[in-house]
Amino acid sequence: MKCRELKTYVYLKEDEISPSVWAEINKHLDNCSECSNEFSFITKTSEVIDKIRVYEPIIPDELHFADSVMNKIELLEKPAEITMLNKFINSFLDFFLLPSVRTAAVSVIIFIFSMYLFQQYFVFRNVSSLEKSIAIEHVSVPHESIAGFNNNKVISAAAELIDFVKGNRLYSDLSSDIIIADKSKINDLLSIYGDLLRYKNLYPDEIEKKYPELNSFLNQKLTLENMQDFLNKNKNMLNDISRKFPAGGNINEK
């Protein structure tokens, strides 16, 4: 073994290298005074290390160390013994942490929420159509318009009239009169009244100038008697008006 090789091996101990290498190291140290002197520190270093090795540090509060360990173990085990319910809850929650179960749970929640929204939508729609049907019940489509207007026009006018009636003067009259009056007749009358109101809104000047009777009728309080009386007396005027609105035409178009 050469001096250079020794520098590597010299840091290893007897049981860390093969016996043959160990023998060579010793042989070299016996014969090479230079190396022997240079590596004398090995013994000294070992002294320091050995002293540290044999020293047993003192455990703080050593007398109670075992008690402390056993108490900790008891504490760790106690909750598991008494709370079977917690164990069940934990395993139940763990089950929901599984990826597949988590996805399924989220899907179910989304489904339930969608169903709720869907149901709400239908309730809203039903209420809405119920309101509409109530309205149409009051102003159903007349088979034949007295004034000769086309049915679509009448429906449209009637729908507007309903809104008007609900918030205005007609409502109170209707609610009392409808009991004694013929329902379909009321519907017809209201349809026509709606058309007349609309017509007045579209051609206020013309109405005022050419049809002062209509204007004054529309300005007075509406009752079934007034309406019937007005229609009976002004059939010619109504025919004149209906000619200005050809069947199928849009009432909003001038």
Binding site: K44, T45, I52, A66, I73
Partner: protein, 191 residues
């Protein structure tokens, strides 16, 4: 090594078997038997009384929880050492940035006490300072290998098994650790 050859220690075997069956009195005897050993290992790595005590306690708790996994195929201390070392490494990770770990508060007198006196002449604190100074410049791997081999007397094979490092790497790390320590001691004592 500090511990005896535990494969042939029948009393120990009996204690372990009883502890594996849930006998707490037997386990307590194990604690009392190994508490100094465990604390010494933890102390020489962590270099702090409190941390070493906490880690030693945690090691015994973990031992209780996993003792049924010990199959008498390896030395008990080697098997147990893995638990201790892993807990120490966890502790070191937690306080990685603490400057105290690499403190340079040691003075020459401490070494002189160590070299000239007997074991009773120095305290935990002094010993701690010496090891800090000796191992302060070592990498974590070098430090673990050095502490296990030179301060706790484990064989190269045992170290390799415990920290999952090839034997040759253990030797290389050990060699570099000893070189650095030698350099440090030479500077102090002008050897």
């Amino acid at each position: 090594m500090n511990g005896t050859d535990l494969n042939i220690d029948h009393d120990l075997e009996k204690l372990i078997l009883l502890a594996q069956q849930g006998d707490k009195q037997a386990f307590r005897s194990l604690v009392e038997k190994y508490q100094k050993f465990v604390f010494a290992v933890a102390f020489k790595i962590l270099l702090n009384d409190e941390d070493a005590r906490d880690t030693a306690q945690d090691a015994f708790i973990k031992l209780w929880q996993h003792i049924s996994e010990y199959k008498f195929q390896a030395k008990f201390t080697t098997w147990f050492y893995k638990i201790i070392i892993n807990l120490c490494l966890d502790k070191l990770r937690v306080r990685k940035r603490r400057n105290a770990f690499f403190t340079n508060s040691i003075d020459e007198n401490t070494f002189n006490v160590l070299l000239s006196g007997n074991s009773d002449d120095y305290s935990n604190k002094e010993l701690m300072e010496i090891i800090i100074k000796l191992t302060g410049k070592l990498s974590p791997k070098q430090k673990i290998v050095f502490v296990m081999r030179d301060l706790n007397g484990f064989g190269i094979g045992e170290i390799s098994q415990t920290i999952n490092m090839p034997e040759n790497s253990v030797k290389v790390n050990l060699l570099y650790a000893r070189k650095k320590i030698k350099k440090y001691l030479t500077n102090i004592y002008k050897w």
